[in-house]
Each structure stands twice: as C-alpha cells, then as structure tokens.
Symmetry: C2
Subunit: 329 residues, 2 copies
DNA sequence: CTGAAAGCGCTTACAG
DNA sequence: CTGAAAGCGCTTACAG
C-alpha cells in the first residue's frame, strides 16, 4: 500500500505537521526530532505525493507550452530551452501540439488552464484575438511566444521581423535584383504579417515593381514551399526571400534539385533555425537571418515564472533581435 | 474567487454528488435536474478543478516522457507522435530532457514518478540496469523507448538494429570496399551496442580486415561526428557506416565541405531520421536506413496506456523494423 | 519547540 | 432518482 505522511508520523512518534515541516524546512524542528522523522521516512521508503501537495497548495509547479508544430526544429529547440530553464527552477513542462489548428489550440487552452498548470506559454495559431482572450480565465498567467496579437493584453516574447527583411530586400536591390519573390508562412500569423509588410515597404522604398504575384504563402509546416516556388519561378524572379525556417530548407533543396546555382542563377535570403543542416551547407551562398531560438525559449521561461509571481504586473512585449548573416560570413 | 462544485450545487438546489454525476455521466440523473445543473454551471462559469479531481481519483491522465535530447529531430518527431496518440486518448504529456546525462535522468524519474504522472516513457541514457530499476517504484507503469536493457524486466519498443547494419556492410563488401569505417553513438546505449555488434559480425563474415581503429564513437548529440571522421579518414576508409541520425547529417556536411564525392570517393551508409533535409539532398548518393520514428512514438503511447490498464501483464519487447533504402531509390 | 484539527475540491460507497 | 458524508494526502493557521 501507499505510504503516507501519517504512516511516517506514527512510526516517528510525532505529528504530521512536524513531518511536513521537517521535509519542507518550513519551521524549526529540533535535531533529535528531525533525526526520528528521517529515519522513519527511510524505513518506510516514503515519498510525498506531488498530486496531494499541489492540490493542497494550489501550486502545480508545472507550465504548459502550446506549440504549433513540435517536429519543426525551431520549436523543438525552443522546447528544449524552455524545459531547461523551467527544470532549473523546479518546474515541469507539459507540451501540447496544435499542428497550426485553432480548434486544437482552443481545446488545449481549456484543458490545461483548468487546474493542470500554473501558467501557459502559447505560440498561438489563432487570428482572432477576442476568441483567444475569451479562452483565458481571468488572471491566469499567460505569455505569448514568437507570435503576438495587435491588442497587447498579454506579455510576449518574439523576434524582430521587420528590420532583417527590410534590409535584405535593400541589399538585393543594391545587387541589381529587380523581381524579388517573397515566401511567407501562414498569412494569419503576426510573424508572417510583419515580414510581408517589411518586404512590401522595402520594395516600394527601393523603387522596385510591386506585384502581388511575387508574394506567396505556405502553411508554416512541412511540404508547403514547393508550389510557392513553382509559381515564383514562373514569375522569373531573380531573387527570393523566404521568411520561414522550414520552408527555407525546402527551398534550398528544391532549387538544388532543379539545378539552380544559388548566388548565380538566383539570389536567396532565408530565415533559418540557427543550427539547420542546410545552413551549414549553403551559408556561403545565401544571406541568412538567424533567429535567437534558445534565447527565445529562455526568455519565455523567465517571463512566465515572473507572471506567476506577479500576475497583475503590466503586460509588456519583449522583442529579441535576429542576426543578419550575409553570404559567406 | 474560485467557483467550486459546492457553489454549483447550491445554486442548482441539488447535492454535490448530483453535480458530479451529471458532469461525469456516472449515474442516472433526470432530465430536469440535469437542466438545472447545467444552467448553474453556465451561470457561474464553473470548470471542474483537474488537480482536485486527479488527487481524488489517483488518475492524473498524464504521462511523462524522459527524452535524451529534445532538439534532436528524431526525438522531436517521436514526441510529436506520442503527444498525438496520448491527446487522442485524453492524456497529457510531460517532457523531461536529460541531454544524455544519467544524473538528470535519475532526478527526473524520481520527480515524475512521485505522483505527477500515471506512467513513464523512458529513452534511457543509463548503462546500469540495477541502478535504473531501483528508481522505479514497485508496480509503476514504465515503457522503455528506443533503448533497452539486457535484463528484460520492462516492456519496450525499439527498432531492429542488427539486420540493416549487417546488410549494409555486406553490400559495401560486395561493391569491393575493403576498409569500412564505423561511427556509433554513445557506447553505453543498447542501440549503439547492437549496431556495432552487427558491423563486427558482418566484417568478419565477409572476410574483411577487423580493426578496432575503424570503429569510432560519438556522444549521440550534436557536433561529435567530426573528430570521429578525421580519425577514420586517416585510416584510409573507402566506406563509412554512420549508425546515428544526427551524426549522419554532420558526416554528410563534413564530407561535402572536404570535397568528397559520395559514392565515388567514398561510400556511405547512414541511419537517418526519415525526413532529414540531408536525406532529401543526398539520398541518391548513399544508402539510408530509415527508422520508423512515428510508429515508434505511436507504439510507445499505446504500450504505456496498456500498461496503466494492466500493470501486471508480462513485459514484452516490441521491435519495429527499419527500411533499407539503397542509393537512388 | 510541537500538536490537534481544519480544509483544499472533488468522487463515491452507502442509504433511502 | 438523489443526498449526506467520508475521505483522498497533504499544509498551515491556531494554540500552547
């Protein structure tokens, strides 16, 4: 049978209060009494029941992370980094995967916020903020990760999207490229919107032709780049900007198979998950925008624990900067 | 304040028992009463507290997965597949990362088995079975994933390691290769041991020179292939077998950078995580051993839920087969 | 320096 | 067809 705190108390000849205080160092216990308690614990092989404890205290010591796509290495690395931070602070991590499906996100928010976790990290795939907001119980600690909403009611950590895209378009224009194709992720995501907007402004500012046919969208998951590429190549692009990591890898592979020489037949700028294989192989043939994935995860961990401490602190946005790595550096 | 089942009962004018039974459909409740209960729930915005419920029932509806390296896409994909299976069956998934560190594994087993989860999936990095076994509370549901122990006391799901490696060595020998280098993962892992043994037997059976200098070990994580490769290239290998996915990617990149042409200057056989970028690019230049990652995850989920149902069923090993994909197929 | 006891929010025999 | 009440295993004021 299960060994409980009462069994320990009985064997040690003390109260359950004393056992509890001994284990948790939450009030003074004499050396002699401690001794007896620890002996009883050892003899019975007692382990406090985490479930009872968290029920009693209301603290689960667990954070939920709602991720759009675990098998995307960008998120996998982020999960690792979050887990690393949290476990160092005595927290566990529950993972939920939405596969960019808003219904799955909704279900998971409901399930996890109903007493399973102390706080939620969400890389949301939702477009509608009011729908999103209505799912979060009042005062429940939430931090948005990588993707934000126009309405800034939750704290967030994300990556600067505008500047690196703007800059790369200018550089391409400077090289003499005229028709610059753009591939973005899911159109509804804040990250995609910001990147597309940066592209559009840069194209206009550099005096290049503005053509909606030069902008294509994928689904932010695997195997969605190819059809975009076919369409852009038909448009006779002399350069491509790929604003999403997974699609970037696919682009490199596809161009390679089609026999394009990067930097000669076509110029390429890509967002990369920083330790992608492709990046190692081709970093000398394309410009890369390298995201601080680990920093993103660590900051997310930091913010959510802060949030749990002080749920009513004003929400603020934290924006990390990507590294711009031109060809061959 | 928090809305509890008593608040609902009071407002609906029924007992908490009736509210509970209504929510859970666990005994007959008249239509009229149900109506009242649901109205009260809606009015108060009541959500049952998962923590209280799991404390009471002893069922957490949560599985722990102890993973050696989340950022390794092999495991990331497996996590996705496990999560997928579990969430479809009403379970949550807690992730712990060991970074191939036995102490971290030990800590995590202790923490998670102490009332946090109903069962544990473990891809263990431990060598010593008795140490491992001593950490698992008697009768606690455990399933070993990808890596097993010689002593078969826990159920497990893993991938056949012997046959594909044996076969690849024979094929290389058949092509005329004489000095076949072998790179394995962490020497203590069952997967590594089996793969090395297969290599050794095949080398002997094919009448090739047996030379310990042809066998090198990495750490099963990132950036450990290079030094192995330098040593093997010094041994004038005409073929390489890389028995670990991450190291395989690194090998391809390194050989590429060194200017080797695969299949001409050197023959290559690799274990691959099936959707690796590298595989897409080079599958026509090397033999691949493709692991059924998703099936592995799904089976792991299946086995652990079975185990929770019937913890005393005899432990059995489930071995999945890899696909052998020769050059250019 | 320590103990007796209430109570966290549910579920579930037991009883009618 | 439904209710009163015990109890899961802890923690924590309150009291001495």
């Amino acid at each position: 049978m299960k060994v409980t705190i009462s069994d320990v108390a009985r064997l040690a000849g003390v109260s359950t209060a004393t056992v509890s205080h001994t284990i948790n160092s939450t009030r003074y216990v004499s050396g002699e009494t401690k001794e007896k308690v620890y002996r009883a614990i050892a003899e019975l092989g007692y382990t406090p029941d985490a479930s009872a404890r968290s029920f009693r205290t209301g603290k689960k010591k667990t954070i939920g992370f709602i991720v759009p796509d675990i098998s995307n290495k960008f998120f996998a690395t982020m999960i690792e980094s979050v887990e690393n931070y949290l476990s160092a602070h005595g927290y566990h991590l529950i993972i939920a995967n939405t596969k960019e499906n808003p219904e799955r996100e909704e279900t998971n928010i409901r399930l996890l916020s109903a007493g399973l976790v102390d706080g939620l990290l969400i890389a949301s795939t939702m477009e509608d903020f009011s729908r999103f907001e209505s799912l979060i119980p009042a005062g429940f600690p939430v931090v948005l990760v990588d993707r934000t909403f126009d309405t800034k009611r939750f704290p967030s950590v994300s990556v600067s999207n505008f500047q690196p895209i703007y800059r790369s378009v200018c550089r391409l224009a400077g090289k003499g490229d005229k028709r610059i194709g753009m591939i973005g992720g899911l159109p509804r995501l804040s990250s995609t919107k910001e990147r597309i907007a940066a592209y559009q402004e840069a194209v206009a500012d550099c005096g290049l032709p503005q053509d909606d046919l030069l902008i294509r969208y994928g689904n932010s998951m695997e195997n969605s780049a190819q059809s975009c590429l076919d369409e852009l190549l038909e448009q006779k692009c002399d350069a491509l900007v790929v604003a999403q990591g997974l699609m970037a890898s696919e682009t490199v592979i596809y161009l390679h198979k089609k026999g394009f020489k990067l930097g000669e037949d076509i110029d390429l700028v890509t967002f990369v998950d920083y330790d992608s294989d492709i990046n190692y192989l081709y970093s000398n043939q394309m410009d890369c925008i390298i995201q601080p994935v680990e920093k993103l995860g660590e900051t997310a961990g930091e913010l959510i624990l802060q949030r749990i401490e002080t749920p009513d602190a004003p929400a603020f946005e934290q924006v990390l900067t990507s590294t711009y790595q031109p060809c061959g550096m």
